[in-house]
Structures are given as C-alpha cells and as structure tokens.
Symmetry: C2
Subunit: 455 residues, 2 copies
C-alpha cells in the first residue's frame, strides 16, 4: 500500500507569508492577521479538508539584512508586524476537534521552566493536539533586543538547546507520575505527593530543582518539530525531532537531508520511521496547466522585487542591496541552482532572455526555500506523489501565495484527487496529534531521547 | 448619582481558588480547570450578567512554606497544578464580545521584549479587552526554578519592575506612531518606515535598542492592574496601576490603602479618579440569612484544615506546621484581627467556645485576605453598597467558595438587586476594557507615567 501523505498548512501570525507584495492581491486578507476570526475560519476550513495540522511559523526579530535597515521589512509587511503565534492555539482549539496545531517557539531567549509550563498548558487546552516547532533563532536583532551584544554562537545555541530540552523532558515526563492526580473525595486527596517528584536538574546552562507546575497533559511532551539544516541542527533534529520541516529546493537535496538525519538518529537508538519529514511546497493550481501559469503570472504582477530581495538577504545572510542584475544572477545560481521549477518555467517561456533584477527575484520568489509546483490538479497531485516516493518524505508543509485563494484551490482541486487515489485522508482517526501522525500511542516512543532522561 | 459598582470575577487556572478542600464539594467542577469549555462557559455566564471583567490570578511557584514541603499543596490541589492563565484569554475572547480580561503575569522572571509582544498580541486578539495584573512574584520556589539561589531582594524587584514597565511603554506607546500602518495598495506601502521607531532603551536592567514587533493594539497599553500592598508596592501602584486589587480585611484598612495610594499617585501628576480600587470579597448568599449561614456551614464541612494552614503559611510567610490551637489563635489575631465577619459569626454562634485548630482555620478560610460576606440577597447587596460608600472603592473582585454555585447565587440573587438600585450595569457600553471602566478613550490618559516616557 502506498504511504499516506500527511499535510500541514503553513501560516505566520503576520500580514504575509514569504510572499512579498501579495498583501495587495485582491482577497488576500492580509489585514485580518491579528483578528481571531481569520484564524478560526482558517482552522475550520483545514479541518473540513482533513489536513493533519496547521503549522505556525515565527521570528523574534526583524528582517533587516537588506541595506542594513528595517525599512524594507516595514514597508513590505515582511514578517513584520509579527505577533506571538502561541495565542492563536486556544481559540483554534475551541473551534476545531481534530486539527493538529504545531507552533514555532524559539528557546534561545526563554527559560525551560516557563516554556514547559506554556506547552503543557496548551497541550491540556487542545486535548493533546499540540506540536512544538523548536527553533534557536538566527536573527541578530532578536539577540540585541534581548539585551545581548550579538547572538550566542551557533553551536552553543544548540548545546544550550539540548539541555533546555532535557529540562523540559524531566518536567513533562518524570515530575508527575501516571496516577499522581487521584481526585479522591473520600480520602480528601487531590494529588498524591509521593508521585510528584522534584527534578533536581543541574547543568551548565540551567538549574531547576523543583516540580513541574502542570499535571501531565494528554501527550506529556508535545509533538516535536524541528527544521535545522546545518550539521549541528541536523544532529539536534536526530536527537529530538519527531517531525522535520524541510526547506530544500530539489528532490535530491531533500532525499539527502532525510537520509542524513535518519542515519544520525540511529546513533540515538531511534528508528527511521520515528521521524516524519515534511518538505515545504507551494502549489499553484489551475483547472488546466495554462490557467495555473496565468495564475502564477498574475501573482508575479503583485510581487515586490524589493521585498523579495529583503527576504533573500535575510535568508542567505547576504545584503543584496545595490546588486546589479549580473551579480544577483550569479549569486542566486551559486546559492542554490535557483528554484528549478520556476526557473525552468521562465526560461521556457522566454528563451535567451536577459534577466532584470525584478525578473530574477521571481526565480526565488514564493517558493523561497521550498518548491513552487505549478500545474493542473492532476499535474500537481502527480508531482506531490512522486516527490514523496522519490525522496522518502512523509508529507508536506503547504505554503501559499494568495492567502485565501491558494488554499481554496488546493482543497477543491488537488486534495480530492489525492483522496481518491488513497493518498490523503478523508476522515480523522481518533486521538492526539501524535497518535494521528504515527498510528501509535499518545506519548513519545521509548526510543526517543525524551524517554531516556533520568532524575 | 451614586457611583456605579464595577465587578470583576476572580479565577485561577488551577483546581481551586484559595478554598482548600472545596474541590470535593458537589458540582465544584474542580476537574474542569484544564478544559477550555469550563472557561468559555464561565465567560459567557459572566458576560450575560454584565460583569466588567474576569480577573485571572497566577503563581509561578509552589505553596511550600507549610512544613517546608510541597506535600500539603500537592495533596490539596492548592494552587497546584497551576497552568499558564494567559492561554485562556484567546478562547474566551472568541466566545464573548464585551467582557474585560485581566490576567496576572509576573515580570520578575521574564523579559520586557517578550512580555510586550505577548500583551500586544492578546490586546489585538481580544480587540482591546486586555488587562494585565502586574506582579513581581514572592515565592522562593519560583526564584529557585528560574535558576536563582534565592529571590531578588523585594525593593530591587520593584526597581527592576519600574524599568521593565518603561521598556514596555516605549514599545507600546512610542515605537509605532499612529498611522504607521497604511496598507496602501496603490503605493505598495504596508507600513511607513518613517513612523516606526527604534526605542533605543538602555538602563541598569535592560537594553532594548529596536522596534516593537507588533503594530499598535486597540488599547496600545493593556489596562494595568496591580495588587502590591507593601510600601514599595504601593509606590509602584501609584506610578503604574489603573486598577488596584486590594486584599485588605477591614473597611478601615481598605480606606487607608486607597487614600495612601491615591496621594502617592498625585506625586506623579495623576488624579484620584485615575486609579480604580477593587477590594476582594467572597459573597455567601442564601434566600434568607439563615439559608446563607447554613450554606456557609455546609462549605465549612468540606474545608480542609491542613489546606487552610498551608495557604495561611504561604500568605504570611510563617510556617504554621505543628502550631497548637493557642499559638495559632494568637498568630491569627495578631496578624490581622481575624476576618471580622466570619469571626463575629462564629463567636455569636458559639459564645465562650474553646477553639480547636480546625475551627480556627475557619477564621481565615475562604475570605483569605479579603472579606467573606454572608447573608440574604438584600443584606449582601447592602453590605457591598456600604462598603463602596465607606471606603471610596470603585468595585469588587468577586471570589468564590464553590466554583459554580457561588457565582450562580451571586448572579441570580444579588446582582439583580444592585441593578435595580442603579449600582450595577445592565448592559455594556461600547469600546475597549479601558473605555468601559473609565468612560474615556481607549488609551492611557496623558497623566499616566506610560504617556510620559520619551525616546
């Protein structure tokens, strides 16, 4: 039987999602990002379509690499304003029953005692539908606004992250034993003190002697997502991640990352199937291929070149301000070989053309670090299926170009085909987010690092 | 015209609210504390009754003073488990339209850059219904679990708190000017960079150079609550609080605190009416006085003596474990003169009685630092009115003994009388929490410290 393809939908508590200029697109709903109704309506729509989850990105700083200034980010609404995504979860949970809810939280400027409490609270309120996308932050401005001169060194951030997770595991998995909360009115015992343990953690980064403030939530540890692609980041993923969000451009790179992280995970006694991989894709679908290409052209007409360059500058850590077309072309080619699908499409459409900066920006636009897939419903469905089968991935994080239109297209045109082919679910199974993703119990498996910590 | 009495209802994201043992009371709903439906149903009930707000308490540590151990707190469900209350806000906001939502957050183990973002996010999602009860934490175990050897010294916590607030004010009030977010599709400008300012804050405790990550929320600064009663705490309140939550036992003490804080506030150029005072009361209402007293007796039969002593130990910072009845009696009398209403009631009921420890615990039980008011609907309404008129307070934080029953009694028996007398509102006015509480604009008044910060 062919593997079921899992789908998370990607959003950000911000006016746009890596689609600079598209807030101007008719019906984009950019202005609704801070309104609860946008989020509850979105969640209901995703649940009706049987998406596995909603994946909320985040950033704690400003995209200010381009020209060394925040101005482009402000002007473009580029990941700014960016509100705390964790507060969307409770309202969405109240409006839905099954949808998984994965939220990005950086651990670098936080403390595990507070973070563990937040996550347990949310896992309780969602009745076990919480996922945490663990990030370590990579924006200079975040470090400065949290009072540092510059960022903590990259690998040290991950060392601290390992210990941060160790503290969380102790609080989530060990502090309150099963059966600690008895609520026995006859004996007058709410919880049994002999089953509630001080964790006594002492390490180079943290000292947490006491008990967890929350009783065990339905999953104890939320489903752990991670997206690091550096060597140290992959090592972190191999140890902690249950779901991995990939930004690789090509199937080859995707396959390589998956196999690398899976083999690193074996060192920790984990199995290949213990980690699910979700490459990011951005489908552009029309009734026919022609229509899809027209749609992409229409999207391009709203694209902001400056916004795209500002996005690329922050992603690559290279200030592209003032680049000539030639220099930019060389940079994009060198950095990644371009976005194969968009590049191919543009070059076929305009063979031998001399690219302008605005046109070059399109080579990277929308897909960003993931793939834009353009085509008829069948073409997109075929491409998604073959991408899974070629790479060993387990599902997709679905991004969008037009906030409402792209998702509606995907739900009405592509998902029914994948459902008919038996590759996408048509109803939810029971249980927590972890149970739905892995078809096993609500807790971390015994092979996971979080189950191996000791007091 | 007599002053309108404002009502907030007090809750905690925990099995009980300072009413040890009452989780056993039939219909107490103690087990529902981690369930969203409990909170949305409660909020709908409060809104139907035209309460001004829901006030959510919090603690970041364990009540472990009694016997130097967490055991009593665990056994009694005494402020433990205690989940993050901020995550109740979005779901409640989605279920209601008018109810104000005041939440307790400690600033002592947090950073203003993260806190300001959380508050702005919530003020956006609630469409301007957020209040923040600022606390500095006073539990040793919180300090230790956040990695400190012991608590930051009391007055230093407040000094740090003053600067913490200054950073928040700069982010909320000054970073994004009015009109910064233009969303003008013609010019392609989402927000105007010339109106988004770095705050450039440098102080002894914090350095925050950049811009706020959130655009201005409906109130910019949430309605600020505070409850400190120490001299330094009152100074903090005089500078920052718009609403003050009082735990004083007697009308005399309440009046004294109100007049002290109001005169301190004048130093900062504020007016007496710039701060609203909410003493905490716990009404026990029956159809007749007799019924109310029977109800209180029934509540007492569920009261846990150990839980009450554990609560008292943490509140007073004195370990009462092993106290004899005489020693405890002397302690309670010395500490506060006892709870006048309960004490009076018990002594009238049992003149000349030798008190046991269990009986003494009742002198403090339920009311805790506030007042238990026992009587017929008219008696309770009279008492609330006269308390306001005697003390200069502006409303009440209403606590409960039985989670569902107490509130239902108050709503069905007492509020209608106060509404008929024109002292309690029968419908909401339009606007934000601040507009509803103060009958003026959505923002801090010009006289408030938060409006006087400069970049």
């Amino acid at each position: 039987m062919k593997k079921r393809i899992r789908f998370n939908y990607v959003e950000k508590h911000s006016p746009i999602l890596d689609n600079p200029g598209l807030w101007k697109y008719p019906g984009s709903e950019a202005h609704r990002y801070s309104s609860l109704s946008y989020w509850t309506e979105l969640a209901v729509k995703l649940e009706k379509a049987c998406f596995d989850g909603l994946f909320l990105g985040d950033a704690l700083g400003v995209y200010d690499t381009y020209g060394g200034s925040k101005d482009a980010a402000v002007r473009e609404g580029l990941s700014l304003p960016i509100h705390d995504p964790t507060y969307l979860i409770p309202a969405i949970a109240a409006a839905t029953k099954h949808l998984g809810l994965a939220v990005t939280c950086s651990l670098t400027y936080d403390h595990p005692y507070a973070m563990a409490r937040r996550m347990s609270t949310l896992d309780h309120l969602t009745e076990g539908r919480l996922g945490w996308n663990i990030v370590t932050s990579n924006l200079e401005s975040a470090a400065r606004n949290f009072g540092l001169d510059t960022q903590i060194e990259h690998d040290t951030r991950y060392d601290r992250g390992d210990e941060f997770m160790e503290v969380c595991y102790k609080l989530w998995e060990l502090s309150w034993e099963d059966g600690a909360v008895v609520q026995d009115a006859d004996s007058g015992i709410f919880a049994d003190p002999s089953k509630v343990k001080d964790i006594g953690h002492e390490g180079p980064f943290f000292r947490v002697p006491g008990i967890h403030l929350c009783d065990p939530s339905p999953q104890r540890t939320p489903v752990l997502f991670q997206a690091g692609s550096s060597k140290r980041g992959r090592e972190f993923a191999a140890r902690h991640a249950e779901c991995n969000f990939l930004n690789a451009i090509t199937p080859e790179e995707t396959r390589h990352l998956i196999s690398d992280i899976r083999s690193r995970a074996e060192k920790y006694g984990r199995k290949a199937e213990d980690i699910l991989f979700f490459p990011r894709v951005v489908p552009v679908v029309g009734a026919t291929e022609e229509e899809a290409r027209d749609k992409l052209d229409r999207y391009f007409s709203f694209l902001s070149t400056e916004g795209t360059l500002a996005l690329l500058s922050t992603w690559t850590g290279t200030d592209l301000f003032g680049y000539t077309a030639d220099r930019l072309h060389a940079f994009v080619e060198r950095k990644s070989g371009g976005n194969a699908y968009i590049s191919d499409y543009l070059q076929r459409a305009h063979p031998g053309k001399q690219w302008t900066i605005a046109e070059l920006a399109r080579l990277y636009a929308f897909g960003g670090m993931g793939n834009v897939i353009v085509g008829s419903p069948e073409q997109v469905a075929d491409r998604l299926e073959s991408f899974i089968d070629e790479t060993g991935a387990d599902g997709f994080n679905i991004g969008y170009i037009s906030r409402s239109e792209s998702l509606t297209d995907f739900i009405t045109l592509v998902l029914p085909i994948l459902q008919q082919r038996g590759r996408a679910q048509t109803e939810y199974s029971e249980g927590t987010y972890r149970e739905q993703l892995f078809d096993r119990g609500p807790y971390l498996p015994a092979s996971h690092s979080g189950k191996k910590v000791k007091l």
